[in-house]
């Protein structure tokens, strides 16, 4: 018997780590990984609440979140490759112009 709040606290810690990484990291790939970390934290609370309320819909939505994360990873990494091709850098501090 693990209390629901333990799962929620773990999920909150993961989400907070993701937000922190998003803010302090300077490498665009690592920033992207922080977003994945946030999605994982939310997924954990989805599954915990699904078990808590006895509804399987929570697990279905985890599935949808995963699909959206996969699509996002494909497009995001393509954007990263395009940025690197034009800017020759992955540091977000040096990517400060909208025009090429």
């Amino acid at each position: 018997m693990v209390p629901l709040s333990y799962y929620l606290v773990l999920s909150g810690i993961l989400f907070a780590c993701g937000v922190t990484g998003f803010l302090i990291k300077r490498n665009i790939i690592t920033i992207f990984m922080s977003i994945e970390l946030m999605l994982n934290g939310v997924n954990l609370s989805f599954v915990a609440f699904a078990a808590q309320w006895g509804k399987l819909s929570g697990q279905i939505f985890v599935f949808f979140v995963m699909v959206v994360a996969a699509a996002e990873a494909a497009v995001g990494l393509a954007i990263i490759i395009a940025v690197y091709r034009t800017r020759e850098t992955l540091n977000v501090d040096q990517v400060n112009l909208l025009k090429l």
Partner: protein, 173 residues
């Protein structure tokens, strides 16, 4: 008791991986610690009885998505990131504020959320039940998702395609 022990062990591994992602300078090390986080999260899902989600977590997240990440890191030959100085006000007020806020939220969750406890394997989510729900109740979102994936594939091809084939990426200089 055993379940609580397993939860705590893999929760600690999970948090350690997440913190390691923040501490490491090289993106490949961050990617590997993210894989640790995802694998231990799969164990937490198994504890909750979500077998299908645990399997999909390992296959899609720790497998497919992270392979994509590692592939891009190696393709772009990403080196160590240089640290830039953040704002000092954010350091002075942000970190204590964050600690106080998260401590408060954790206290409310731990003390005020009643005595609900999730039993290990409380809600079995075998693939058969998930598939039934997915293809009956959630058929429309499922189909919309397939369109989303198609658009993502086309977007990735357009964005990362060669610049001479009509893609938006132009080589400078």
């Amino acid at each position: 008791m055993l379940h609580l022990t397993i939860f705590l062990i893999f929760g600690a591994v999970c948090v350690a991986g997440a913190v390691n992602l923040l501490v490491q300078r090289h993106p490949i090390n961050s990617a590997l610690s993210l894989i640790v986080v995802m694998a231990s999260l799969a164990v937490e899902y198994l504890l909750l009885g979500a077998e299908f989600v645990a399997a999909v977590q390992v296959i899609i997240y720790a497998g497919a998505i992270m392979v994509l990440f590692v592939f891009v890191i190696m393709l772009l030959n990403a080196g160590e990131e240089e640290r830039t100085k953040g704002s000092r006000v954010a350091m002075i007020f942000g970190i204590p504020g964050m600690l106080v806020g998260s401590g408060l939220v954790a206290w409310v969750l731990l003390e005020r959320s009643g005595t609900h406890a999730v039993e290990a394997g409380a809600l079995p989510g075998p693939p058969k039940t998930i598939a039934w729900l997915l293809f009956h109740e959630f058929l429309l979102p499922f189909e919309v998702t397939s369109v989303l994936v198609l658009i993502a594939i086309m977007g990735a091809v357009v964005l990362a395609g060669h610049s001479d084939s009509g893609g938006p990426a132009k080589k400078e200089g």
